[in-house]
């Protein structure tokens, strides 16, 4: 007759939405006030926004006149007219299939790597890290296999934003790991070089480094030695994010207990095998959220390249806003809203994926991430 399950100390909860609301939204006078204030705020902001962005919006049309009526909301017709440019920048129309191919290969590869249970991850990963950048470069810039040359000055829009972000993300992790290891190295030269680099880069805003790379570097280089402006910007972004990544990874390295190092050493593992097999897997799992956080920050920082004259997603929308053919009271606002929506979609997916990864992978047996 004994009861086998434990009885909760809490009084039993009522069922249904009303009980839920009483428990969660109106449990005390203070909570009630907060709830009402929040509802009030939502009431003030959300319906006008929906009205503006959807109900009163203009969805199609060929000229600015369609968006000139009083009380017009967002002018999506403007986005539709320039959609190709927002995605590809000034990439030639006839050659856009090449950009599409790069998008598609990238999407499939990332999907494959990100989905658990799919096989051949190692091969796909190697392909994405080594072959994919080369294939993308050849496809995008051309000049080989009978492809027409498309100078990097014509790349733009979402294409350019993704190129900058992906290069930064892919290059910053290995570079950051090396820098972090170097900073904790026992060799003074390596340590001092790494500390010097990290602290220098972290002490300077990204825009300064970009400006330096785009405008000042050519002044220092000997005449005739000119690197592509985009290449210079990519290197700048990669080095910048590597310095931040190094500090994140160092945090993870410090969280690995000293015993792990000693245990690895006692097994007779050398430095690289100790790091590769024992220390780094634990360290990286620990700092997974911070790594993704850095990636998200980097993704948004890419919009700074518009200040050095690139037509990235934000830059191309700003240029479009100046087009007198589409100049209306709502053009600029619509453009910025659209840019924000795209940035949000990418950053939010990254953050959701990282949360999922934490729950399913990082939390596993190492357990270092969950304390």
């Amino acid at each position: 007759m004994a009861r086998t399950s434990t009885v909760s100390a809490k009084p039993p909860r009522g069922a249904g939405p009303i009980a839920w609301m009483r428990d969660n939204l109106f449990s005390s006078p203070f909570n009630t006030a907060l709830t009402l204030a929040a509802l009030g705020l939502l009431w003030i902001t959300v319906p006008p926004f929906i009205n503006w962005a959807f109900i009163n919006a203009v969805w199609s049309g060929e000229t600015r006149d369609v968006c000139m009526a009083p009380e017009t909301g967002a002018c999506w017709a403007y986005i539709a007219a320039r959609f190709d440019q927002i995605v590809y920048g000034f990439y030639e129309k006839a050659e856009r299939w090449r950009a599409d191919a790069v998008f598609i290969i990238g999407a499939i590869g990332i999907f494959w790597l990100a989905t658990p249970g799919l096989r051949a991850k190692r091969a796909i990963g190697a392909f994405m890290l080594i072959a994919y950048p080369v294939i993308s470069y050849v496809l995008l810039s051309g000049g080989l296999f009978g492809l027409d040359v498309v100078p990097s000055a014509k790349w733009g829009g979402l294409l350019l934003t993704l190129i900058v972000a992906v290069t930064g993300i892919v290059a910053s992790l290995p570079l950051g790991i090396l820098l972090a290891l170097g900073r904790r190295s026992k060799l003074p030269v390596v340590r001092i070089l790494c500390i010097g680099f990290i602290e220098f880069v972290r002490g300077v805003p990204l825009i300064t480094i970009l400006f330096m790379a785009s405008n000042l570097l050519p002044l220092f280089l000997p005449e005739g030695l000119v690197f592509d402006k985009l290449l210079r910007a990519l290197v700048a972004v990669a080095l910048f994010s590597a310095a931040y990544m190094a500090e994140v990874v160092r945090g993870g390295l410090q969280a690995v207990p000293q015993g792990q190092y000693e245990a690895a050493a006692s097994l007779g593992l050398g430095y690289w095998r100790m790091m590769g097999l024992i220390i780094l897997p634990q360290a990286l799992k620990t700092v997974m959220p911070s790594i993704v956080n850095t990636f998200i920050g980097l993704f948004k920082d890419t919009s700074l390249v518009s200040i050095i004259g690139f037509s990235d997603l934000l830059g191309i929308i700003q240029k479009g806003n100046a087009d007198p053919e589409w100049s209306t009271p709502v053009t600029a606002t619509t453009g910025y809203l659209f840019a924000a929506a795209i940035f949000w979609a990418f950053c939010f997916s990254m953050s959701r994926y990282s949360a999922w990864l934490e729950r399913n992978v990082a939390g596993g047996k190492a357990g270092a991430g969950k304390t």
Partner: protein
């Protein structure tokens, strides 16, 4: 003797190989442009009527067309230009570091830029200046009628100082409403919080397009500050600056002489000596710059004269509908004046 001769010839050949083009034109920039096959031109990253990409990705505008005119003069191909959008912050360093051959980007010619920054301005393609926009229904036709008016503008720019000077000089009172962002100031005016909005006149025409009822607003004729906009090049290559300067002069002269893109073919048969010299029928004026003698024909055939370029991009033929005003020819009451080809 034979040895000496062959050494001499060898050295001569070397000298010719080492500087094949500088012997032609005397301008390192022009030689580089010719060798490259296209002109590199720095333009604004989006300014209505001056340089902005259209929905097809083609650059258009007055500043853009001027670059095309130079390309037409050099290559007989207005599309042999690569446009590099540059922001206000980076334009000067980018020109200095050789990102482009010239900067054609609504840049005001000031003494500091000309001298301290080390650039050479090649001319004035657009005389801009601060102006006012008002609601036409109020019956204002001159800035001198703005006594007691409330004026909206962006804070922290020279526009505030210019207004203060202008109203004081004319013994008028005013109330200033300043805003952090240009768009906010414009919106305040559109909502009726001020009687007038002020910024550079070319900007007023673009701003009018962003108002609900563009036709209700008029732009007053007065210009109360000097903002001469023009193309500029790096100091140190005077011959290149000459070329840029004379492409503009050729377009202005062509307008004055009535040479247009439509009639330039017939005009080469004109008996007017000024036209004959401009179009290279007489004289060696093109060759003296390192170009061909029909340089002006190429410019006008592809891009038109100054007036055509103006009307097409910012004037009556465009959506902006900017009046010629002080940008009319000197002979029509404006300031555009070019020295003669002679």
């Amino acid at each position: 003797m034979r040895f000496v001769l062959s050494v001499f010839l060898g050295a001569l050949a070397l000298a010719v190989v080492a500087s094949p083009a500088s012997a032609q034109s005397g301008s390192a920039t022009l030689d580089a442009v010719k060798a490259r096959g296209y002109l590199m031109c720095g333009v604004s990253d989006g300014l209505a009527g001056f340089s902005n990409p259209d929905a097809q990705g083609n650059w258009s505008g007055l500043d853009v067309d001027f670059c095309r005119a130079i390309a037409a003069a050099i290559f007989d191909d207005p599309n042999a230009v690569r446009f590099t959008p540059s922001t206000a912050k980076e334009r000067f360093t980018a020109l200095q570091s050789g990102e482009f051959d010239l900067l054609s980007r609504n840049t005001t010619w000031t003494m500091q830029r000309d001298i301290a920054l080390g650039f050479t301005f090649a001319g004035i393609i657009y005389y801009d200046g601060q102006g006012f926009i008002v609601r036409g229904a109020e019956g204002t036709t001159s800035a001198l009628q703005l006594n007691g008016a409330t004026v909206c503008t962006q804070s922290g720019t020279t526009t505030e100082l210019n207004i203060a000077d202008y109203f004081t000089a004319n013994n008028m009172t005013y109330e200033l409403l300043t805003f952090e962002k240009e768009a906010e100031a414009l919106q305040a005016y559109d909502e009726g919080r001020c009687d007038a909005y002020t910024t550079d006149q070319s900007g007023l025409y673009a701003a009018r397009l962003e108002m609900r009822n563009a036709d209700e607003h008029i732009i007053l004729p007065e210009i109360i500050s000097k903002e001469p906009l023009g193309p500029l090049v790096r100091q140190g290559d005077d011959r290149w600056a000459d070329i840029v300067r004379w492409v503009l002069f050729a377009q202005i002269n062509a307008e004055e002489l009535g040479v247009t893109s439509a009639n330039v073919g017939e005009m080469t048969g004109s008996s007017n000596p000024e036209i004959r010299r401009l179009l290279g029928v007489e004289g060696e004026f093109g060759a003296s710059m390192g170009l061909t003698n029909d340089w002006a024909v190429r410019i006008i055939r592809h891009m038109g004269n100054y007036g055509e370029m103006f009307e097409r991009n910012v004037g009556e033929g465009s959506i902006l509908k900017i009046a010629r005003g002080i940008n009319a020819l000197w002979s029509k009451g404006g300031l555009q004046y070019a020295p003669p080809v002679r």
